[in-house]
């Protein structure tokens, strides 16, 4: 894969339009795991928009993000920083030949009150 293809892949996986970010920093202002993250929520959006994906793929923050979605909830522009974190995490996990989540486990753990993405990211993190 060329670098551009890897960037495009991350953009597609995240499913969010990083160009809509107006750099207000409200995501990082709200993030409860801010101090645990080497790369901050707003930087995930900004670095992906600039195509600087090596920094993201090498970050520890993908394992410290709680996937609480507070950043998504508070973003005034409808951008989803947590979705970018998840896209990076997914890419890293797949590169290791793993996926973490077993399809047959899903029905037992699905709870209508849990955001689906939280479930997915939790499995990626804790089954690594």
């Amino acid at each position: 894969m060329t670098k551009q293809e890897r960037i495009d892949n991350l953009l597609r996986l995240s499913g969010t339009d990083v160009k809509k970010c107006m750099k207000c920093g409200k995501c990082s202002g709200r993030c409860p795991a801010f101090n645990e993250m080497d790369i901050k929520p707003h930087q995930f959006v900004s670095l992906l928009a600039q195509g600087k994906i090596e920094i993201l793929l090498g970050s520890d923050a993908i394992w410290n993000c709680l996937s609480c979605m507070a950043c998504v909830e508070r973003c005034p522009r409808g951008v989803a920083p947590a979705a970018v974190v998840e896209a990076v995490r997914d890419t890293v996990v797949r590169a290791q030949g793993k996926n973490g989540l077993k399809a047959e486990d899903i029905p037992q753990i699905v709870d209508e009150f849990i955001p689906q993405q939280l479930l997915v990211s939790a499995y990626r993190k804790y089954n690594k």
Partner: protein, 663 residues
């Protein structure tokens, strides 16, 4: 048979880059009826118009089609040119091959084919055009201003100074609007009341201005030059002609727990009240929901004490009808509700306030007599944190997508005034961008940061929470890539502004267009910024878009200039494209009269001959051509097809549709 001339404009490269204009002109030559076809670089230029005039004369043209930009742009230009060459101006049709074709297509072949179809369509119509004549209508030399804030006041004063009668209709008990609530004004920091109240007094004393306070517009009929407006004068339960504004009623009223709207609900007022000391008119009003006498029938204390017998608990709403030549809309704004922003804790913490509430807290005539105190405990706040863009620039659906424009400047003002008056106070401002374009504006903001030591933090607040009475403001500091928490005593939210909600009703009454954010739409964003697309309706102040006081005053004066320009005319040319009924087909059902927004349709009893010497009296429609605006609502409503529109007859429209379908 018409002798038709076709003129295809390049509009420089606007059309010619996407449409093969020469090919269009050439192809169209083969159309039946077309005796002349030409293309030119700028048909609207002096030379282009001359080309049209010459062709009309040389080829004895009886009708012309111009393939160019939207008729909204240059229809009038080409009609004038045709008229100068001796052609009736209504024998001109425009084929819009720019907005409807070249600007929306990329492929030249496709666009060229479409341009040919659009020109053919216009030819099909123009073949059925008939010469039309416009009439004249008189102009009522009186203006209506809806809204008595600074925009309405300025517009009214300027119109009245030119010698025309003006009525200001204000829904509140006093004029003055939002500006009356402000403490100081940027960028010069002069006191708002000191510069506004003299203008309010000027309005009250001006012999040409009639202030109808505590009144609302209920119904608007008619059209430019001849609006008929019904105004509701709400019952204030106090005789405006008798009340002297002595305030004895306010002192004696036992029901003192009403929320004081003028102070943004930060304190209370009696059931009978004058909104503020310099109110115009200086006349009390009773809140019937709060008045003990009106709720229970027992009390009447204010009536007993009123020395001039002004109190009248039985007063009812009254309606008055007035005629106007022009209407200025100046309905203003309000801060948005903060229900969607619970992260800032506005609903849960008394010490989280909006900027307009801070204006009242800092105002000498406000609830704390100008001493800045915390609403919760009345103590002086030592650490104050401002949050900008609360609800502005928000496309998530919680707030407003636009920039409210005034917040950066008033926040700098607040920060500066606090640091000036209370140097022991720490002031922080969270901002996304500081937007301060304008004369002496950026200098003003920098003064706050550089001379007054206001701490500007690039970043946004994520949450505000209360720990033992301290407001913890957690946000990002993007420059230092940190998340910080500021322990604050007072949090001020620079809340987004939105048009006063009643503007929707006004817009409907006036058939004035309004955008998705409830701002009234101007006729042209750059070249007709104070005119509504509805003739005779003008826009001033925030009802048209966010703006500060200097801009509002400029726009209000611009409105006044437009109104004066209209009112000095004795007669206006009326629209020639008016509805015309076929009496023989009319069944007298009145549906057209019901949909007519201009009151142009009435019904008459008329005698018809049936043959054999017999006659019959039938109820049939009659259109007043001076009032009809040619909107066509009646023509599509008529169930029997009796109504037609001159210049846009059903036949003409159907022949256009046929021409499009033929391709």
């Amino acid at each position: 048979m018409q002798r038709i001339g076709v003129f295809i404009c390049w509009c420089g490269s606007n059309i010619a880059a996407t449409v093969d204009v020469k090919k269009v002109a050439e192809t169209i030559k083969a159309e039946p009826g077309v005796v002349y076809s030409e293309n030119y670089q700028y048909m609207c230029s002096e030379n282009g118009q001359q080309l049209i005039k010459n062709a009309i004369k040389e080829h004895n043209l009886t009708a012309i089609v111009v393939g160019a930009c939207s008729p909204r742009m240059h229809e009038a230009t080409f009609r004038k040119a045709a008229e100068a060459a001796g052609l009736n101006p209504y024998m001109v049709e425009i084929a819009n091959i720019r907005e409807h074709c070249s600007w929306i297509h990329k492929d030249m072949d496709e666009a060229t084919e479409k341009a040919v179809v659009l020109v053919r369509t216009a030819i099909a119509k123009v073949k059925l055009n008939a010469p039309l004549m416009s009439g004249e209508s008189p102009v009522v030399k009186r203006a209506l201003v809806i809204g008595g804030g600074i925009a309405g006041i300025q517009a009214a004063l300027d119109i009245a100074d030119a010698g025309f009668e003006v009525d200001i209709v204000e829904k509140n008990a006093t004029i003055g609007g939002r500006m009356a609530q402000l403490d100081k004004t940027f960028p010069t920091l002069d006191c708002s009341a000191c510069i506004l109240t003299p203008k309010m007094v000027d309005c009250a004393q001006h012999e040409k201005i009639d202030i109808l306070s505590y009144s609302e517009v209920e119904e608007v009929k008619g059209f430019v030059g001849n609006f008929n407006v019904k105004i509701r004068r709400k019952a204030r339960y106090v005789d405006e002609t008798k009340c002297t504004g002595c305030k004895i009623c306010m002192e004696k009223c036992p029901s003192k727990k009403g929320l004081n709207d003028f102070n943004m609900g930060l304190n209370t007022r009696p059931a009978i009240y004058i909104p503020f000391a310099q109110a115009i008119p200086n006349v009390a009003v009773i809140d019937p929901e709060q008045c003990i006498k009106m709720k229970t029938g027992k009390c009447g204390i204010c009536q007993k004490f009123c020395g001039v017998g002004a109190i009248d608990y039985t007063q009812k709403d009254e309606f008055i009808d007035r005629q106007y030549g022009a209407i200025v809309v100046a309905t203003g704004f309000k801060p948005i509700a903060l229900d969607n922003f619970n992260e800032y804790g506005y609903a849960d913490n008394k010490d989280v306030i909006t900027s307009l509430e801070l204006e009242r807290l800092m105002n000498a005539a406000g609830p704390s007599d100008g001493v800045l105190v915390r609403p919760s405990d009345g103590k002086h706040p030592k650490v104050i944190t401002f949050i900008q863009c609360v609800g502005s620039r928000d496309t998530s659906g919680c707030g407003k997508p636009y920039c409210s424009k005034i917040c950066c400047m008033y926040t700098a003002k607040h920060a500066m005034l606090i640091r000036e008056k209370y140097p022991d106070t720490e002031v922080h401002v969270f901002y996304i961008d500081v937007r301060t374009p304008g004369k002496n504006y950026d200098e003003f903001y920098r003064r706050a940061a550089e001379q007054y030591g206001v701490d500007y933090i690039k970043g946004m607040v994520g949450k505000v929470y209360n720990v033992n009475g301290k407001l913890m403001v957690q946000g990002s500091n993007l420059i230092d890539n940190e998340q910080i928490t500021i322990e604050s005593d007072l949090v001020v939210l620079a809340t987004a502004i939105e048009p006063e909600p009643s503007v929707r009703k006004i817009a409907t009454l006036l058939t004035a267009s309004i955008d998705t954010n409830n701002f009234l739409t101007e006729s042209h964003a750059k070249l007709r910024p104070v005119e509504s697309p509805t003739a005779g309706v003008y826009l001033a102040g925030v009802c048209q878009g966010p703006k500060d006081i200097p801009e509002t005053v400029s726009q209000a004066s611009a409105c006044a200039a437009k109104v004066i320009g209209l009112l000095v005319k004795d007669k206006l040319k009326t629209n020639a494209c008016v509805a015309t009924p076929d009496e023989m087909m009319c069944n007298g059902c009145s549906q057209c009269a019901n949909v007519c927004a201009y009151g142009a349709i009435t019904y008459v009893e008329k005698e018809f001959r049936l043959g054999g010497g017999k006659t019959e009296v039938r109820r049939v429609v009659s259109v007043n051509p001076a009032v009809c605006q040619g909107c066509g609502a009646c023509t599509v409503t008529c169930p029997s097809g009796a109504m037609d529109l001159k210049g846009f007859s059903s036949k003409q429209i159907m022949s256009e549709v046929e021409a499009i379908c033929k391709m």
